[in-house]
Symmetry: C2
Subunit: 189 residues, 2 copies
Amino acid sequence: MHYQLIQNISKHVQLSPEEKSLFDTFWTEKTLDKGDYLLRNGEVCKNDNYIISGALKAFYINSDKGKEEILYFSIDDWWATDILSFQKQRPSIYNIQALEETRLLQISYQSFQKMLAEIPKLERYFRIILEAYLGSLQQRIIVGNTYDAAYRYSAFLKDYPKIAQKVPQYLIASYLGISPEFISRIRKK
Amino acid sequence: MHYQLIQNISKHVQLSPEEKSLFDTFWTEKTLDKGDYLLRNGEVCKNDNYIISGALKAFYINSDKGKEEILYFSIDDWWATDILSFQKQRPSIYNIQALEETRLLQISYQSFQKMLAEIPKLERYFRIILEAYLGSLQQRIIVGNTYDAAYRYSAFLKDYPKIAQKVPQYLIASYLGISPEFISRIRKK
DNA sequence: TGTAAAAATTGACCTAGTTCAATAAAGATT
DNA sequence: AATCTTTATTGAACTAGGTCAATTTTTACA
């Protein structure tokens, strides 16, 4: 049984033992090595991916400068899916790549639809996590437009200590919209 | 009948005539004058609000400088609701205020739950629009971290011509994380 | 239609953060 | 342990954009 995901879901909706077993049948486990891509810009995001352990970066390639811009990081007990691409089954505009060995649970688009049809109360779970993510994006926009780089960096360390541990500084800089050199200067204090 | 909202929903899920009539009973119309608040920071967002006509701004008050930071604008055929506050019925961290006379359709939290229970296919509609909004927020973060002020301003004019028409420049500046003076300099070219 | 208030513009100066290039430190690999 | 690669740091010069204060333009409305 894929207890880790089931436990996460149980925080938001209650599943009966039968539902849990049924739920379980839809998901398969996959392991990525460091550097492996889960999704490439231009491809359709075929699976919804739940992270059991490991870390990934989602990034967008700036077409002029060719530089990568971090959209988000994903670690244990969170998702690494381009939701728009997955739900509409149309090409993604960004990439998702493993920063270290990563274990995932995956479900295909077809299975996902079938699962929702058979266990409708999961609609609620997915709506709730979507809303939470949406709230965090709004928060990020506010903070990005309001506070200076030093504040944003220290807020990141406070909010995401686990990510800060795993992820190189220059990628955190990119996530925050700061240059790697400037992050280094912030740290000097 | 509240055709405008029903038409919007019909783009994503099909409702029978009976469902449409039932749907209709849950919503009530409300008019705001220019300057009226729909939601204040600290209050619970009691209703989901669909805009028939008019314009609103959602903004966050920066606690140090006391300045307002625009989180988003909402005009005809879109929503003006703090989703996190509405869904969890807990205090909002931002404000929503009318920029001009605005007509809304409203539904209370209780009615919203009841409506979803009676017309479950609406779950799908709300998930779809949530996903679309989420995609636009991700896009906004990428653009904000990647491009300079002039590009962001011209992209805004292109993407939201109707909003650009209605909303004062200095608020658009705030939305984009730019000073009003600098927007004015950008325009000189 | 005149007056007040709100919004936009302009100039002068300033600074937070960038860029580039070189160096140092840390991690990974044989 | 030595070497290669990836990250991080530092310095120096620069610039995108901010701030402040004054002025003009536009809009609202009595």
